[in-house]
Amino acid sequence: MNGARDIFRNGILRQNSIYRQVLGICSTLAVTNLLANTLVMCVALVFVVSMSSLTVSLLRRVTPQRIRMMVQVMIISTYVIVVDLLLKAYLPDISEQLGPYVGLIITNCIIMGRAEAFAAKNKPWPAFLDGLAMGLGYTMVLMLIALVREPLGFGTIFGLAVLPESWTRWAVMAMAPGAFFMLGIVIWVMNLIDPPAKEQQS
């Protein structure tokens, strides 16, 4: 069994879902033009991934092998519904802006991937930590991307103006291409800082 420290190092850096495994990037790109939306999305994802890892792990002995994917999807959707209802109730504006991307947490490959690769084979507590670590790794990258996109695209950070009016806004950063370029740059820089193990490169 892995120690908690290894699990966190693994989830946040070594196997970071975004820049190392390139999973779960749909939402990465869609919500990162505003920091507030990104933060809400990240909190939602951390909640769903850690809770569903925990639940999948708790049920791992009673889940029939053949239908385990279906069971996992149901578990994940349940938590997503909880998140969606909470957002609608307490943060209706952001819920509106995030639109379908909250529901799309269900098909976020990170969650299914961790349920399959880790939670289904491990005890509940490590599974919960693994989900949490993966979620935090995701949060780190998303906040980083949003922290570049929002100031350059809108001249603001969390909605507060930080750049002078004379600053020419980079419309491209607020739109789709900027998201792709930022993600590419993040992958590039992270691979330079911390080169992946050899077998992944081949």
Partner: protein
């Protein structure tokens, strides 16, 4: 079926392919977009399978949403229902295609089961609810979204094929350069916007 409905469906069809491309402007289906685009042949297979599934699941989900969930006031259950319908449809399609069109089954091969977790499929069903499309518009959107995915993934596969001899920095090889290429494609697709708009 009124004429305006038909026009709006046509507009949605083309907008979903070009101006509001599901992959390049809505970022849906990116996981398989990046991982399956190494070869043109397999990307055509996946794209066709996705277009097929999105068209039908969008229509089925529309019927269930408007004739079952809304009357019963169970709208909040839509995530579970949609994903179950999609998974069920993909399973069913797999069996049906294997039985009636073995050649197509072998061509699509491993791509069919993968589609369940393709967020483009669920995304299209969620968008059609949010945008309050009618049935015909939904079918057009499902087809257009699927075709948009097909166009995007085939173009990316072709671009990746072209750059395979280029000297890409080591740290950018694989996913990195594919993401940058997608960015350039997205930039090109931004050029289509203004041609058509859907809300």
């Amino acid at each position: 079926m009124s004429e305006t409905e038909l026009t709006s469906a046509l507009v949605i069809l083309f907008a979903a392919i070009f101006t509001n491309n599901i992959v390049l402007t809505n970022f849906l289906g990116l996981c398989s977009f990046l991982s399956v685009s190494r070869e043109i042949k397999s990307s055509v297979g996946l794209g066709a399978a996705v277009a097929f599934v999105t068209t039908f699941t969008a229509a089925i989900n529309w019927l269930i949403y408007h004739h079952l969930l809304v009357p019963l006031d169970l709208v909040y259950l839509r995530f579970v229902i949609f994903i179950v319908i999609i998974a069920g449809f993909v399973q069913f399609a797999e069996i049906a295609i294997e039985r009636f069109a073995p050649a197509l089954y072998h061509a699509l091969g491993i791509f069919l089961p993968l589609i369940t977790v393709n967020c483009a499929v669920l995304g299209i069903s969620l968008f059609m609810v949010i945008r309050e499309y009618g049935l015909l518009e939904t079918v057009a959107y499902g087809l257009g979204g699927g075709l948009g995915f097909l166009v995007g993934i085939v173009l990316l596969a072709a671009l990746r094929w072209r750059i395979r001899r280029s000297r890409v920095p080591a740290a950018l090889q694989g996913a990195g350069i594919a993401v940058i290429l997608s960015g350039i494609m997205a930039l090109a697709f931004v050029g289509f916007s203004g041609m058509l708009t859907i809300n």
